[in-house]
């Protein structure tokens, strides 16, 4: 059942309102910009698509169009930060932090400048644009950089909160956002703190058999799977790891040791992503059998978001199957 502390929306299964997480980025930027005049937004020719347009209209003096130049985008932002600004940079994740990875590494991470990198179009759910524009390795790229915080919000509301929280962190942050509309499950009152995972679902009675750990919009799919598993008398927990780095190891070990088996869910390559981060942490603390739901060493392709989520094995039925696979191996 839904965890009361998570204060999720009542309608999240039936008639959930839908919005892309990038919308939350746009709202969060305006909100943060109203609070802090040091905030500037730099954009690489994708103002509408990255949802920075509203900020650009509201604060034209603090909006900087860079053109299609993602390497410049990142290094410029480092310079703005060095001169006292709090810069956000917005592009598609395949280009930023994809194309400009080294600029981010040297001028932002190693240089410890508080630049917030907003990477749009994460995951195969980008849809028709195809593999070139579907970022499936961005969390891996960002996670291995020291000093970098990595956030993957589950819905538009959490994306808004993550954007505002990133603006006051004073450190380099990467936040990934999705293109497609996805259900809004969290409410204004749902707790959000960078680095603190939230348990969203737990068994009506008894102990859980499997802990489902999810990040990004697939958290909603994980909840659907958990409800389905409950109907089959397989009790689970679902925990939302919006922060992939630093990973909330305390909560992780709690839910993993309670269940004795883990399934991770992410719209990202299995190699180097959220599931890898979980495996690294559990291997050192409380090793349990694991299954990984995500993209298994393939590039994306064109299609509808729904077709692609199914093709790449990240639907609710795939999560249910993963739980069934790991169940007999529980610790």
């Amino acid at each position: 059942m839904l965890h009361p502390d998570a204060k999720l929306r009542d309608d999240l299964f039936e008639a959930a309102e839908q919005a892309p997480t990038r919308d939350g980025f746009g709202k969060g930027l305006v909100e943060a910009g109203e609070k802090d005049s040091r905030i500037v937004v730099l954009c690489a020719d994708l103002a509408e698509s990255t949802r920075v347009e509203e900020f650009s209209k509201k604060f034209p003096d603090r909006f900087v169009e860079v053109g299609v130049a993602e390497q410049n985008l990142a290094a410029l932002a480092s310079g703005f930060a060095a001169a006292g600004k709090v810069p956000f940079i917005a592009s598609y994740a395949t280009f930023s932090p994809g194309r400009n990875n080294e600029q981010i590494r040297t001028t932002i991470s190693l240089n410890e400048q508080p630049v917030i990198i907003g990477g749009m179009h994460a995951g195969v759910s980008v849809g028709p644009d195809g593999a070139t524009h579907q970022a499936l390795e961005d969390m891996a790229l960002m996670r291995v950089q020291p000093n970098m915080t990595v956030i993957s919000p589950c819905d538009a509301e959490e994306a808004r909160k993550a954007t505002v929280a990133a603006s006051v962190l004073g450190k380099p942050v990467y936040v990934r956002f999705a293109r497609d509309k996805t259900p809004i499950m969290t409410s204004f009152d749902t707790p959000f703190a960078i680095g603190k995972a939230n348990v969203l679902w737990y068994p009506q009675q008894g102990a859980p058999s499997v802990a489902i750990l999810a990040t990004g919009p697939l958290v909603h799919t994980a909840l659907i799977a958990a409800r389905e598993l409950e109907n089959r008398d397989i009790p689970t927990t679902v925990t939302n790891f919006h922060t992939v780095k630093p990973l909330d190891v305390e909560t992780l070990v709690g839910v993993a040791s309670e269940a004795g088996a883990v399934v991770t869910v992410e719209e990202h390559q299995i190699a180097g992503g959220f599931g890898s981060a979980v495996a690294e942490a559990l291997a050192q603390t409380y090793p349990v059998p694991m299954e990984f739901v995500g993209v298994h060493d393939r590039f994306g392709q064109s299609g509808t978001p729904r077709e692609l989520i199914e093709e790449y094995g990240m639907g609710a039925s795939h999560i249910v199957d993963a739980v069934a696979r790991v169940l007999p191996r529980r610790r």
Binding site: V40, D61, R62, V64, V66, G67, A69, Q71, N72, A74, A75, L76, A77, S78, G79, F80, A81, A82, A83, G84, K85, P87, E102, Q103, T106, T107, L110, N111, E112
Partner: protein, 286 residues
């Protein structure tokens, strides 16, 4: 326009020579590092730290400073030597270059050493950062300038030209680029590795005010910096023609000295050459 007296010019040239000696001393002690670029840029770094830049070694983070970004971080020895001679830290600390625990990393790191504006080494990124600083400073009405030293080799990088486009589009007249036009890079002469000419016209066509100077003529370089301050509608780039390895006749213009240090015997000979101005004077060390 600054008019330097003969005495002032002499003092600056002497400082540049002292900085060159420190560069040789630090490189031989480190056992690795770049020789040609630092020697070639010694005159310009001397002009910057001892005349052009508004800066305070006692208060490196002063809000009323000019910012100096070193894009091609591999010539760090000249920056460290100039900073030490300017009073940022003791000259003896230069001998810790590239050693474990040193503030003087092989490529400069802002968080290690006060007075560095950024961390640099990977080529092509400095001008972007300098442009970001210049833009932010203009937003805040900060009446100071941003200088960015670059190598000619990093004119190969697309990022350099992205920044060049940006700075002229945004009319960042508080930004001054300085190109060390020494014609060498690791794999050989720039014009054989990846031709840059016509470099002057390239920058001009990107919307910059372009000046060319003899990078070993300190008054000429200072005059160019003054001229840049008087250009209000666009950023300025100073193409400084330098001789890699300048001051040591046997290695001048030799690209093979781009990325290696002198050994002990070579260093002794190089220092003797610098201290006697190539045999023109008698050194106290003789």
């Amino acid at each position: 326009m600054t008019q330097l007296t003969d005495e002032e010019v002499r003092t600056l040239n002497d400082r540049a020579n002292a900085i060159r000696q420190t560069i040789i001393e630090m490189l031989v002690e480190a056992g690795s590092g770049h020789t040609a670029g630092p020697l070639g840029m010694a005159d310009i770094f001397t002009a910057l730290y001892f005349h052009v830049l508004a800066h305070d070694p006692e208060n490196p983070g002063s809000p009323v400073r000019d910012r100096f970004v070193l894009s091609n971080g591999h010539i760090a020895p000249v920056r460290y030597a100039a900073m030490a001679h300017a009073g940022y830290f003791p000259v003896e600390e230069c001998l810790t270059l590239r050693k474990f625990g040193s503030r003087l990393q092989g490529h400069p790191e802002r968080l290690k050493l006060p007075g560095l504006e950024t961390t640099s080494g990977p080529l092509g990124e400095g001008l972007s950062q300098a442009a970001g600083m210049a833009y932010a400073m203009r937003m805040d009405g900060v009446p100071h300038r941003v200088f960015c030293a670059m190598s000619d080799g990093e004119m190969d990088c697309g990022n350099t030209w992205e920044a060049a486009m940006f700075a002229s589009a945004k009319r960042l007249s508080n930004l001054v680029g300085i190109i060390d036009r020494n014609n060498i890079q690791i794999d050989g002469y720039t014009e054989s590795v990846m031709p840059l000419e016509p470099l002057h016209e390239k920058w001009q066509s990107f919307g910059w005010h372009v000046l060319e100077v003899d990078g070993h003529n300190i008054p000429q370089f200072i005059a160019a910096c003054d001229e840049a301050a008087a250009v209000f509608e666009k950023p300025t780039v100073i193409i400084a023609h330098t001789i890699p390895g300048k001051g040591i006749k046997s290695i001048e213009r030799d690209y093979r000295w781009h990325g290696k240090p002198p050994n002990k015997e070579e260093a002794a000979a190089f220092l003797a050459e610098l201290r006697t101005l190539g045999g023109q004077v008698t050194s106290e060390h003789q």
